[in-house]
Amino acid sequence: MQKIRRRSVLAGAAGMLAMPKLGRAQAAKPRLTAISQWSAGSDGAAISALGKKFEERGGIWQHSPVPGFTTEMMNKLRAQILSGDPPACSQLKGPEIAAWSKIAPTVNLDAIVAAAGYEKVVAPDLARLHKPGGKWAALPLQIYRTNTLFVSKRGLDRAKADKLPTTWAEFNTLADKMQASGMKYPISNGGSRADDGQKFEACLAGISPAAYRAAIMNLDAKALKGPEMLAAFVQLRKIANWMDPNTAAQPYAVHLPKLIAGEMGMMIQGGWAQGVLLNAGFKLDDFIIAPGPTDNGKPVFILNADAFIFWQRKEADLQEGQKLMAELVMQPAIQTMYSQITGSIPVRTDVDLSGPGWSDGQREAAKTLKDAVAANQVVLSLAHNMAQENGMTAAMIDVLTEYVKDRTITPEKAVTRLTEAVEGAR
């Protein structure tokens, strides 16, 4: 207590000294304090570019990156909230936006969002995540599709196939064909938890987006035990048997050279893998990007999005900064700039991707998103913390990753275990 009082006295004194300048301060120059984990690579480049735009509009950009795992960024955020000094905006995604907005007040962005006419160009499921309690408190920044199919051009030639698979049955036939051509492991995959979870979500959503929504997003007890879940685990076992078991905890990227060389055939991965492939020196015509298999003939888009949440601050300059930041991240030009750096696709479904600077993969993903929104087949990624809060997600991924690594677990047993894990984490 003592300390705080002393600090406010000091602040008051400083305020007195600053008195003559007060007139200027009232027209508050926008200032933004922000924390994120994006410090290096294309992520770092993109956020720095955004900062430049912020400064061009006369703002003061104060970004403090917390490199490393997302959890470390969250620890910093937690500490700042506990000490009553949250950043004006911070990176946060998915259902964590709603969870964290309960522990500290957030800014109501409704007016700014409405003025920009933004809501009708954002996928409804995505918009919902950023409106805890029905009010916009956060804004999505960029979108990735997690069920993107990367097919090796040489792998395809080696299997003497020319058609890309669109359903799981076709996918399985092609994988078999690739294996028969002498490819030991037709499916390329990393060994991380998220990698395993991602394979499962691609299976289930491809089999039935409705079942995915009921079981994974709404945790409906009946849907969790439904026949689609069983079918998804059966498909996941097939994929697991086609993967290189010697992967341990390595990232998916270690297999990329083999995939391109045609020693492996296909990979189900997020759209970000395109950037990784190009950075590794491979060419766009070394691989083909296609939507993940879907059994009902309509496109399915499993969505992952990064976002910024805005924390309430009293300072006039920070409030101005929040307004400016919100305005910027909704602009098509800014989203174009950002996605072209990171390889993602814009949040807005009305951005034109025909120009240079976009790849065919990005164009295809953006078109699939638009079509999937129309068909109501956009679902939120479990593996990338979009479908559930972190506690529930981790409990479910435990089951999925164990299933991928352990062939003795039957699909039936996996369904039971997943149901139990959900109950335990509720």
Binding site: T71, M74, N75, R78, I81, L82, E96, A99, W100, I103, G191, S192, R193, D244, P245, N246, T247, A248, A249, Q250, E389, N390, G391, A394, A395, D398, T401, E402, Y403, V404, K405, D406, R417, A421, G424
Partner: protein, 294 residues
């Protein structure tokens, strides 16, 4: 008791930091224990929920696997590290040439952090690029050493890396112990015609007991709080096959945003540690009493 003012600086230097450190540890241990009984999630505050967090943690597969692993890892790591260390110490104790160089080599892994150890061994043990591939490329194509990706054996890869890292430390302590054995005792045994084997088993090793206990206790508490080694070597996998309690605590607290459950797991870890350290403390106490009475 009369306070000697001239010794006041000494008291201040010793007691103030000691009390601060102890107060900090005790305060946070108590705070964690308190949180473990509340419904805290993202923030350390919540309502009293009794033992709910404990029953919940104890029911998860993660915790069960972690605890089984702790038993396997604890036993394998402590016993094998101590034996390896003792073996190396006895070999070095033969007054050989180049002892200093060898001792530095064996002790050197201790200078590396567990993260570096784990990362290096994750490459060595990976069947696709490490030892297995090397032997296969040399011509023995049937050779298999894929424990790292075998969920039943993966925990032993952590034991191997742990032994490599810590046996030098055990060796150093044992060597000091061996050197401090009364030379007269050894001479007397040799005059009585004891061979090297009997000399060690009957004379030297029995006098090493206090050091054996000390090494064991230090290794056991290392085993219980092992975190970084697993994180770097297997990431808790394949699947969740190599989870350890410290990983589960971190996972609950910071990745799942469930501070209450994480705290409950942390308290369970503290109890495990107490179960090891308390008997040791009592044993030390009894020893001292006996020595005082003798």
């Amino acid at each position: 008791m009369k306070l000697n003012l001239r010794r006041l600086p000494e008291y201040l230097v010793i007691w103030v930091p000691l009390l601060l450190a102890a107060g900090q540890i005790v305060t946070f241990a108590l705070w964690t224990t308190w949180i473990s009984f509340t419904s805290a999630t993202l923030m350390p505050s919540g309502d009293w929920v009794g033992l709910k967090n404990y029953t919940n943690v104890l029911a998860t597969r993660n915790w069960k696997i972690a605890f089984d692993n702790l038993l396997i890892f604890g036993f394998g790591f402590v016993v094998l590290t101590a034996l390896t260390g003792l073996f190396l110490a006895i070999l070095l104790d033969q007054r050989i040439r180049g002892e200093n160089v060898l001792r530095s080599i064996f002790l050197y892994p201790l200078a590396l952090s567990f993260v570096v150890t784990g990362t290096a061994w994750s490459w060595l043990l990976n069947p696709g690029m490490g030892v297995q591939k090397l032997v296969n490329d040399l011509g023995w194509t049937g050779f298999r050493f894929d424990w790292l990706v075998d969920r039943d054996m993966a925990i032993w890869t952590i034991v191997i890396a742990g032994i490599w890292q810590s046996s030098g430390f055990a060796m150093a302590l044992f060597l000091a112990g061996l050197r401090s054995v009364e030379p007269d005792l050894v001479k007397a045994a040799q005059i009585d015609g004891a061979g090297p084997f009997r000399l060690y088993t009957r004379v030297i090793l029995p006098s090493l007991w206090p050091i054996v206990i000390a090494v064991m206790v230090i290794l056991i508490q290392t085993a219980i709080r092992t975190f970084d080694l697993v994180r770097a070597l297997t990431g808790g996998g394949p699947g969740i096959a190599t989870q350890l309690p410290a990983l589960v605590v971190y996972d609950f607290m910071f990745q799942r945003g469930q501070l209450g459950r994480g705290s409950a797991a942390a308290v369970l870890m503290l109890l495990t540690l107490a179960a090891v350290l308390l008997p040791y403390g009592i044993w030390k106490y009894v020893q001292r009493r006996r020595a005082a009475n003798a």
